[in-house]
Symmetry: C2
Subunit: 401 residues, 2 copies
Amino acid sequence: MGVIVQKYGGTSVGDVKKIKSVAKRVICEKEKGNDVVVVLSAMGKTTDHLVNLCKEISTNPSKRDLDMILATGEQVSISLLSMVFQECGYDSISLTGFQAGIRTQGPHTKNKILDIDIKKIKSHLQEDKIVVVAGFQGINENGDITTLGRGGSDTTAVALAAKLNCECNIYTDVEGIYSVDPRLYKDAKKLDFISYEEMMEMSSLGAGVMETRAIEIACKYNIPIYVASSSKDVKGTYIKEYDKKMEEKVITGLSISDDVIMITINNILFRLDNIATIFEKLARENVNIDMISQTAPLNGKVNLSFTASKEDLFVINKAMDEIKSENSEVEVVVEQNIAKISVVGIGMTNQSGVTGKLFRLLADNGLEFRQVTTSEISISYTIDKKDKEKTVSLLARELDL
Amino acid sequence: MGVIVQKYGGTSVGDVKKIKSVAKRVICEKEKGNDVVVVLSAMGKTTDHLVNLCKEISTNPSKRDLDMILATGEQVSISLLSMVFQECGYDSISLTGFQAGIRTQGPHTKNKILDIDIKKIKSHLQEDKIVVVAGFQGINENGDITTLGRGGSDTTAVALAAKLNCECNIYTDVEGIYSVDPRLYKDAKKLDFISYEEMMEMSSLGAGVMETRAIEIACKYNIPIYVASSSKDVKGTYIKEYDKKMEEKVITGLSISDDVIMITINNILFRLDNIATIFEKLARENVNIDMISQTAPLNGKVNLSFTASKEDLFVINKAMDEIKSENSEVEVVVEQNIAKISVVGIGMTNQSGVTGKLFRLLADNGLEFRQVTTSEISISYTIDKKDKEKTVSLLARELDL
């Protein structure tokens, strides 16, 4: 008899009817003879509702309290699912993050899992219970309730699977991993398999289906992840170790994000210390900096651009105000109408010419890009948001995605 | 510098605007130089909303999960209040039941506070923080989240005041304790003081403002409770030790409850064991039995009536079905259109004639009662719910309440 971790996202538990459907799927797995640990997100609209309440109080509410209030969302959904199991005659136990032994550390709203004390869950499984765990949350060493930031429930699920050394199924509102977001390119192809490395690039570049951290953990512990629809019974996508037998393609996918802002600081007096100070300020506010580009010094001055997540806009603006007041000569531009497009493929590592092909495609179609950065297995561009759809269609078609 | 515990109920924190008003009151107390521990209930409609979700799943949802889901209500309100304090520049900390060290025991949804580990709260107070504690909830020795049942937030507040040896203010949607519920009798008089004993009788008899358990704790530790309006700035009522200087009245108040059902079991074969079995069954389901009356045996059979809270209707019906199947001769009647009216007064202990006067009043006005029970300081009647208003007005007027 095996163990399996199943994770269901917010739209999959959006109302009681949907929670009952989730219960059916879990019971089906249980009836196959498997022990099941279910990880849930908050019900669809709960988080938005709670965030709106907070916004009535502050544009930047205290983060410890934000974690405290957001954690209630999953506590509601796990209680309801556990009630359904018991109503159907199955023994179950609902566990919040702290009850499930999920110890975390880091700044509030962006904690990372430090470790999971898995004993309690194992003993509930031995008692033949279905274990229902609140995703996205944990407890830090001070006993504060913490949350794991975006995609945190995936991280919870994969970390539990790693501790239980079992497969992790992510049930969601898409049918698997696509080469391109099917909402943006309707002919996008669903992948049967994708390697951890490619998926990490896709995620960190904004593909949206799963967050990078969850994939990192799966990769580290070699836990296979199966991503599939929570409502339809169609084949999904396995995220697993790279395997020569996987179809050889230079480019696996395209990832698009418009949850991006681009900050440009012009006329910085070129001293290394000046640049470091800027990034230190942002690091203190736990801002994740993404694409960075800097011009070569001219007349002792440099221009610097970087991208970040829209959710950090408030603290970034604050930091920029400080920088301006400390350096009267600099000019800061924060652009919000930006999209980021990345092409990803593990095949790129030993294929040349991809970069040239992409630049040519964009140039021939009159598509301007603002920044470009590259990694071993990806190339990313920031473009004007209005060009997003045209660029996506062009690249998806030309790259056969 | 003193400490004070302030408790605000569900309607007082019904929306963000009201939560901001609560914050103002607390800050006002803090500015007087007092340390403040605030205990909150869930926001007005939250509990109803959660209970409705559960009802979509089961008429009798698993109690551990019910506790788990209901406890989120206070977790939301404490987070929001703490955010307001910090937005106003006051340091504060929100604590759930388990974080506040509130250890409980007993059956789920009806736990009792076993003890409070007050160290954590004291250390936060020493750091000059406003401490915001989730009422109504705690944690049991298994690490399960528990709730304290009806009026549980009052119990939390008074228990914290007992541990901190300070006064407890209960801010609510009424202006104090009245001799009669002012919604039922508009000329009811607000009391300046009431003794613990009288308040316990009033509460246990259904006066609604505070639950008995909270008063019991206050009485045991001699903690003064001040009940007042959370919105208006008018004088409330002190609940405190009986004092000869308190106005000498035979009857202090009238308490009315229609959250009552009356169960009558006819034709029980009169063996003591039979009666005991009935109450044992109900005790196993944690049903609180209130007024009990039993006829003298006739032809070896007795009739038994008792009242209980409407919220236990489901389990009582289940128990009655068992009793009928085990004793084919008995007949069970469950009546829901019942109200309970009690007159309370510490002066009754050394005043005779009150009972006679009451019976005469009811008889002269054609008001029938179903059951009557008495205690040292109270007399209670169950009546038909349709007679409630007439009876209340009559007694309030005649007894000068």
